[in-house]
Symmetry: none
Amino acid sequence: MKNKTARIQKIKDLISGNCIDSQGKLLSQLQECGFDLTQATLSRDLKRMRIAKVGDGDGGYTYILPHAVTPGVHVEHHASAKPQSSSPSGFVSMDFSGQFCVIKTRPGYAGGIALEIDALDSVFVMGTIAGDDTILVILKDGVSLEEITDVLENIIPTIREKTV
Amino acid sequence: MKNKTARIQKIKDLISGNCIDSQGKLLSQLQECGFDLTQATLSRDLKRMRIAKVGDGDGGYTYILPHAVTPGVHVEHHASAKPQSSSPSGFVSMDFSGQFCVIKTRPGYAGGIALEIDALDSVFVMGTIAGDDTILVILKDGVSLEEITDVLENIIPTIREKTV
DNA sequence: TACATTTATGCAAAATAATGCTGTTTTTAT
DNA sequence: ATAAAAACAGCATTATTTTGCATAAATGTA
C-alpha cells in the first residue's frame, strides 16, 4: 500500500482548494505531488470519501466534498482537534452566493445564532437578518466563501462540513 | 419542448424518494411516468440542477440533491404530497431584483407560504426569511426572473399575473 | 512462524455520463 | 408580425468512471 492516509488528505486539500472537473485532472495533480496511483484507485477513493462531481452552475463540473448524507454517519478520519460544537446546536447548513450567505438553522435558532454572528463584529459582515430558521448574512463586497467561512468557523466549528 | 418544468420536478421527487444509482435507472423511471426524453437530456438536467452521484457508504452509489438533507427525519414529497396548489390565498404580489425576490402576502400568511417555498427545495433558492406579510427569497447568484417564476409557479399558479 | 483473512491496487474491459452538431421550438426584439 | 436569438432535445460519439479479476501487502490467529 502506498500511503493511503496521506493520499486521502491530499485529495481533500486539492478538491477544496481548486476547481477540478475530472478524475484525470485530479490524478495528474496527485501525481505531481508525488503520489503514485491509477485512476481506478482514485475512483474508489472518491467513492469511499463520498466526494461528488456536480455542475458548477457555469457550464462546467467540479468535485465537491460531501455534506451530511442521509444514510449512516460520516466519520471524519483525522478527527483531530476540532473543538466540539460548543455552540449553536441549531446550525444546519450554510450556502454562499454573491454578496450573501444564507444559514439554515433548526426552527427557532436563527435569531440566536445571528446574534452570535453579530457579536463577532467581523469586518467581512455588514449585517444579518434572521427569520425563524434562516439567517441572511450580508457581506462586504468582495468577501469570499473562504473568508466568511473562516469567520463563521469561530462559532460553528463544523461549518465546513455543512457548506453547500 | 416537452414540459421541462414538470420533468425537473419529477426528477427531484424521484431522487429524493428512491435510491437511484445511475442515469439509466432514473431515465427508466421517468419514462414510466410518461416523460419522453433521452439520457443526454437527463445528463444535462442533472448538471443544471447540480444533482450529484456519490458513494452511499455501502458499496453503491446514489444521486443526491445538492442541499443536504437535514439530519434526522426527511420528509419526501411525492408528487401527490406536493403542497396542493391551494393557491395560497394569502399571496398578493411578487417583485424581483438582483439576487432577491420579495413576495407580499396578506397579513399573517408570509410564514406559511415561505414554508411551501422551502419545501420545493429548489436549487435556485438559497433560503427564505418571512415576516408577517412579506417574504424575502434569497436566490442563487444569476438566477433569472424566469427561472424563479417557474419554480414559484408550482405553489402560486397565478404568480405571473401578479409579478411587478 | 505459518496460514487464513482482509484491504489495496493495477489492468483492461464494461458501464455510465458528457457533449458536438443539428433540427426544432420558444422567446425576445424590432 | 417577422426576424433574430436563445433554449431544447435527439443522435451518435467521445470521454470519464466503475468494476471484475488477479496479485501483493498488511493484519489477525493459533
